[in-house]
């Protein structure tokens, strides 16, 4: 039986090759080539542009370890990633639950559209709209002062919360979508079965629904955590001076300081750290699921 299967799958691969080819070609061109170029850069002393001299070095990687600033920023970015991911769970999961299990028909479609709208709007537009809302004398400030009887000053602009708000807004649709898909697949009769056995709604949620939607939560968390740790646009625009993170430092190396080799090295250190974190978390999360 196993032999037959093995033969079957080998036979199955060959006809599939022409179908897989475009995908592999695309992966090679779009990801592998630029990535290898970056690996190459990260071991250079300088860019080989305008006939400048260059040599191989490990110095770029050493820089990370020689200055505590980089480690501090990396930790700050990891914390940012964790916080944004948690907020996305807190906001996105209930939203996905309502979409999948409470709303039906037209109203579901309408809300769904609202949730994925940020996906379709340009990132910069989105961030600058938040800037308009969050600054002193901005929309939030004006609106709250119009309603509240006492005067308060809301100036969230250029602060850590502003960065969090901007990032959560950008990334929460991922969590909603991945959780929606797993929640959608959970049969309503499981919920009813749980309740008929004497479990309250909360107990059913804890013991049946959340465990069954774990794959969606994990996928969403991975999709959010990784890019947020390396994010630079939201921290820079909404965070101002407080918005210096690991991602903004990398961006600086590429666009301001023009030290591509250091930028590349810092990127690969981040990649390694993120992969290690995901690798360590995987078994734990798999057991939870």
């Amino acid at each position: 039986m196993a032999e037959q299967l093995a033969i079957g799958s080998r036979r199955g691969l060959k006809p599939a090759l022409p179908l897989l080819l475009p995908a592999y070609l695309w992966l090679t061109v779009a990801i592998f080539l630029p990535l290898s170029a970056m690996v190459f850069f990260s071991f250079m002393t300088d860019l080989p542009l305008a006939g400048k001299e260059w040599a191989f070095t490990l110095g770029n990687y050493a820089t990370f370890f020689s200055q505590s600033l980089y480690l501090t920023l990396l930790l700050a970015s990891l914390r940012l990633g964790l916080e944004v991911t948690l907020w996305c769970v807190v906001i996105g999961y209930p939203a996905a639950y309502v979409l999948a299990k409470v709303l039906k028909g037209r109203s579901r479609e309408a809300i769904f559209l609202l949730v994925i709208l940020p996906f379709w709007s340009n990132g910069l537009v989105r961030i600058f709209s938040w800037a308009m809302v969050l600054r002193e004398g901005g929309i939030l400030d004006t609106a709250l002062n119009a309603v509240l009887p006492f005067k308060i000053n809301i100036d969230l602009m250029y602060s850590y919360p502003a960065v969090i708000i901007g990032l959560v807004h950008s990334y929460v649709p991922y969590m909603v979508l991945t959780c929606y898909l797993t929640l959608q697949a959970i049969d309503d009769s499981l919920i009813e079965a749980g309740r008929s056995l004497g479990a309250s709604r909360l107990q059913v949620l804890k013991r049946v629904i959340i465990p069954l939607s774990m794959p969606g939560l994990i996928a969403g968390a991975a999709l959010i955590f990784v890019p947020v740790v390396g994010s630079f646009m939201e921290p820079r625009i909404l965070g101002g001076r407080t918005g210096t993170f690991y991602g903004t430092v990398i961006e600086d190396q590429f666009v301001a300081v023009f030290n591509w080799p250091l930028g590349a090295a810092l990127s690969f250190i981040l990649l390694a750290v993120v992969l290690i974190i995901l690798g360590l978390a995987a078994p734990v999360l798999r057991r939870a699921a």
């Binding site: 499981l190 079965a193 008929s196």
Partner: protein, 355 residues
């Protein structure tokens, strides 16, 4: 354990009346089948009793306690779903343990009770498996064990055997009946398989378009249906329509059919008579028939279907096709096209008021 009283329950979805003034008294410890065509409101009624849905009007009581506004989890019911609804993220034992564990029972008690329930459904050794590693019949047993381990007051089953093949179905019917007797639990069983309803239940309720058509023990419904629908839905029946004349009807061609039981219909009103195919005696046009068979009709065999232990004859008579089932006694068989006489006793005939 407890009986269930459903009194004047109605439930509408928009303009559609899924349940229309339904009243049934489910006796304590009885096995009750709810039978009816698709869309007749069986599931809706079961969901009102379970508490997944609430009636617009009427009363529901379990064990004498009114429960209309009590949520499912407080009703102490056990429910078995058509698709089993086992929790895929838990082992078989954890599935069965679920109801006890949400109640906060001590672990040791749970283990004992779970094992007892699994033994009862003859799955004592499979506690460690996951639901997807079980066959359909085994899953059904787990679902049953899970539903009864909490010692519910009522057991509700919505077409629990619908997804099983015929042979397994019969096994599970016997099994379910055995378990029900053993623990003596009031059981309400939804099915649209009439044979299942007849063989398993103490009482049957027939639903149609949200209304309770007839309710009673299987023999009573089979022998004395109160409507053409009940007569033809539960088993086969030949229906004659005509004008009532005391204890019987006069057919349009003047023939009278006498009935010993059934509704009392004022003379002249529209009425029908129902007679079961196996109660009719069929004989060749010239032969004699039992003197007690006061009802006789002449006809012609249009078709005969041989099924081993019996034969079904289709007899044409005055534009109507009648069905007669004859046990295979080795007697001479009638040929297609042959003129025949049908005869049966008024005791086998039920008078039904036109609806």
């Amino acid at each position: 354990m407890a009986g269930v009283q459903v009194a004047n329950v109605s439930r509408s979805f928009g303009a559609h009346k899924a349940l229309d003034d339904v009243s049934i008294d489910f006796a304590d410890g009885g096995f009750y089948a709810l039978l009816g065509p698709s869309g007749s409101g069986k599931t809706t009624l079961l969901r009102q009793i379970a508490g997944f849905d609430f009636p617009d009007a009427g009363r529901i009581a379990i064990g004498g306690e009114s429960v209309e506004r009590v949520p499912v989890e407080k009703r102490r019911i056990g429910m078995v779903f058509q698709n089993y609804a086992l929790f895929p993220n838990m082992s078989v034992a954890d599935n069965v343990a679920f109801g006890l564990s949400v109640r906060g029972e001590p672990k040791a008690t749970i283990a004992v009770e779970v094992q007892r329930a699994l033994d009862l459904v003859q799955l004592g050794k499979l506690g460690g498996r996951r639901p997807h590693q079980l066959s359909g019949g085994q899953r059904q047993r787990v679902a049953l064990a899970r539903a009864i381990v909490t010692k519910p007051r009522v057991l509700l089953l919505d077409e629990p055997l619908g997804a099983l093949d015929k042979a397994l179905r019969v096994d599970m019917q016997i099994e379910l009946k055995r378990i029900q007797r053993e623990i003596g639990i009031t059981t309400i069983f939804v099915t649209h398989d009439q044979e299942e309803a007849l063989t398993m239940s103490d009482r049957i309720g027939i639903l149609r378009d949200g209304r309770l058509v007839q309710e009673g023990p299987p023999e009573e419904i089979y022998d004395r249906p109160q409507s053409e629908f009940a007569a033809t839905f539960l088993g086969d029946a030949n229906i004659f329509r005509g004008d009532a004349i005391g204890n019987g009807i006069k057919l349009p061609d003047g023939t009278t059919i006498n009935a010993a039981s059934g509704a009392s219909v004022p003379a002249g009103a529209k009425a029908s008579c129902a007679v079961r195919p196996e109660r009719i005696q069929i004989s060749a046009g010239t032969a004699k028939f039992d003197a007690g068979n006061a009802n006789t009709l002449k006809g012609q065999v249009s078709k005969r279907i041989f099924a081993g232990n019996n034969s079904t004859y289709f007899v044409e008579r005055d534009g109507q096709t009648l069905k007669v089932i004859v046990q295979n006694t080795g007697a001479e068989r009638l040929a297609e096209g042959e003129p025949v006489v049908l005869s049966w006793s008024p005791d086998s005939t039920v008078l039904i008021a036109a609806n």
